[in-house]
């Protein structure tokens, strides 16, 4: 049976009655990713003589993964509808800058957190407006906003670093833990599970896939294509805002360059996870695994004392191999 992890399959037989019966069963690709993940982990653990498993390293890894995974959820949805957003790195920087200013003005945490969320959502709305009614192709629109948002970061911060970030952020996201997992990761996992559930079981989630599969048919069937695409971009913005908040917990300062290159990491994670750029195909589980692999590469490079510069090379090679491995010889059209 062809593995198609984007369609919910039949319930597992027998008495398996967990929440997981609502989620799509993992397919071939997810299996391959998991194997890669395990192999990489073992490789790194071995090569680093166990330094992989130290609490410091694990924390670092888990928090970074959370920060990448959360916007990756939004990116997955956007790509599922057939779009893309390459501006989220600058978005992250801008939201962090705006929030950072609020912190500097001594606003309370409770007041600033909504600002992060609203700012992110607002920037997502900006992109959506260019793409949906403005009909600017997503690649071009978000390439443009990538630069525009980055410029705004500079405008907002005036090239000064923002350093007055309350340590409570770090406490909340990193120090607080449930079991072995820092709060940031718990939040990420919850969001991932929720997203997977919504995409698999909610009508709107299924409509996301329908749009990516056949936008014309979806429109004719009465699916609110424009609205769902709007939600996708706004969601991505919102999640990027949350990631910005967590980033400040991990490293409490905002510079003009904060977030540079972030979008590439997130897109790499989503693509590695099996989401097809043409839309209509992809899973949250895949995105999670892709994120973990991307983070592992970065972490492994440090632990194995490989020159940090190799991380880019490795990441590139992994992406090529993983996408290329899905290639089967085509017998022409």
């Amino acid at each position: 049976m062809p593995s198609d992890a984007s369609a919910p399959l039949a319930r597992p037989s027998g008495r398996v009655r967990s929440i997981f019966r609502h989620l799509p069963l993992p397919g071939e690709r997810e299996g391959g990713l998991l194997a890669t993940l395990v192999a990489l982990s073992l490789l790194i653990a071995f090569g680093s003589h166990g330094a992989f498993f130290t609490p410091v390293n694990m924390d670092n890894l888990l928090v970074s993964a959370a920060i990448t995974a959360i916007p990756a959820i939004g990116m997955t949805v956007v790509i599922l509808t057939g779009g893309i957003d390459v501006s989220i790195g600058s978005m992250l920087g801008l939201v962090a800058a705006i929030g950072g200013l609020a912190f500097e003005a001594h606003w309370s945490l409770a007041a600033v957190v909504p600002i992060f969320c609203l700012a992110g959502a607002g920037l997502g709305l900006f992109n959506a407006a260019l793409i949906i009614p403005g009909r600017v192709p997503p690649v071009i629109a978000t390439l443009g906003t990538l630069s525009i948002f980055r410029m705004l970061v500079f405008l907002v911060t005036g090239s000064n670093w923002i350093t007055e970030i309350p340590p409570s952020l770090t406490t909340i996201f990193i120090v607080t833990r449930i079991g072995p997992l820092p709060m940031a990761s718990i939040i990420a996992l919850l969001m991932l599970a929720l997203a997977a559930f919504i995409l698999a079981r909610f009508r709107m989630g299924r409509h996301v896939y329908a749009i990516g599969n056949n936008e014309e048919a979806a429109r004719l069937a009465g699916i609110r294509v424009r609205r769902i695409k709007l939600y996708a971009y706004v969601l991505l913005g919102l999640l990027t805002g949350i990631a910005a908040l967590m980033t400040l917990g991990q490293s409490p300062m905002v510079q003009t360059s904060t977030g540079e290159g972030f979008e590439l990491k997130v897109i790499a994670a989503v693509v590695l996870g099996g989401t097809e750029l043409s839309g209509g195909r992809g899973t949250i589980l895949g995105t999670l695994l892709g994120t973990l692999i991307v983070e592992l590469v970065g972490d492994g490079v440090v632990l194995l004392h490989i020159q940090p510069f190799w991380s880019g090379v490795l990441l590139g090679a992994i992406i090529l191999f993983s996408v290329g491995a899905a290639w089967r010889p085509a017998r022409s059209v």
Partner: protein, 338 residues
Amino acid sequence: MRGRGFESTRILLLLAFFVLGLGGFALGDVGILSRANLTSMAVFAVEIGIVALGQTFVICGGEGGIDLSVGAIAALAQVFLGLMLVAHMPWPLAVAIALASGVAMGGVNALAITRFTIPPIIVTLATMFAFNGLALVFTGGINIDLTAMPPSFLALGQGSAFGLPVQLAVIYLPLLLLFAFLQHFGRFGRALYLAGTSELAARLAGIRTTELRGWTYVISGLLSSLAGVIGAARLGTARPDAAEQMNLVSIAIVVLGGTGIFGGDGSVIGTAVATAVIAVVDYGLSYNNINPIYQAGVMGIILITLVLVENMLRGRGGLRQVWSYWARAISRDPLQDS
């Protein structure tokens, strides 16, 4: 003329932008029109202009063609060059090898895209990571100082010929002419336009489309490495993080110049004029001591505005729609669905 890909309206619009931009800055300070400043402007533009030429062909070829690795190829080629020069290799040989490395890197892209049918955006994203990483690996993150290199080498980026900077007169302009010829008068260009318009129809008409597109990536790699070499000569250093912005800027310039992102149309002439526009804007901003970060931002604004305006002119979407969309979204009115 339409079918030949030469869209005169866009080019005229851009020329107008160019003149306006130059004029606008000149109003602020006529000094910007001095020979020295115009020279600096040109010099600055040549490198990105060369890369944009290659990117034009890649995008024109269609089927999602895009090259995100141009900056990385330029940087890595520059690094190779620097390493060889520092090892006392005669500079013409070193330059030749650096250019060959660009061809090889473009070849890697071409192979992955044509043979393994991996989408170009993913391939070039991956090679971008890889080549950038390699550049850092080979230099240990440190710039290579080339100021002690023979003047004949440095002249590549700092000399002048016929009263113009060397790279402009001797390299860019001839290249532009060559590519314009190739695209508008040559079989290669015609075949590329057809392949970009309809992949199936082109293949069934006997055009070897994958081969064709593969070549565009090789050419793009060659041109990127050329830009890297010139950059090294101009600044007198080989930097592993050179050309960081080039990836996106080159795409923006190509689209600005009238080449649709889906392929099948556009012109290197448009790209050249767009390069000039961007050069004016960038240089004007830095002349007025505005932080370079605004350059990218302004370019983003220009790009988006241009596409919006064009959409408006064609009756699809545009500024007014965008504005009312925001207004409705913010005021919580039910969004109209079409």
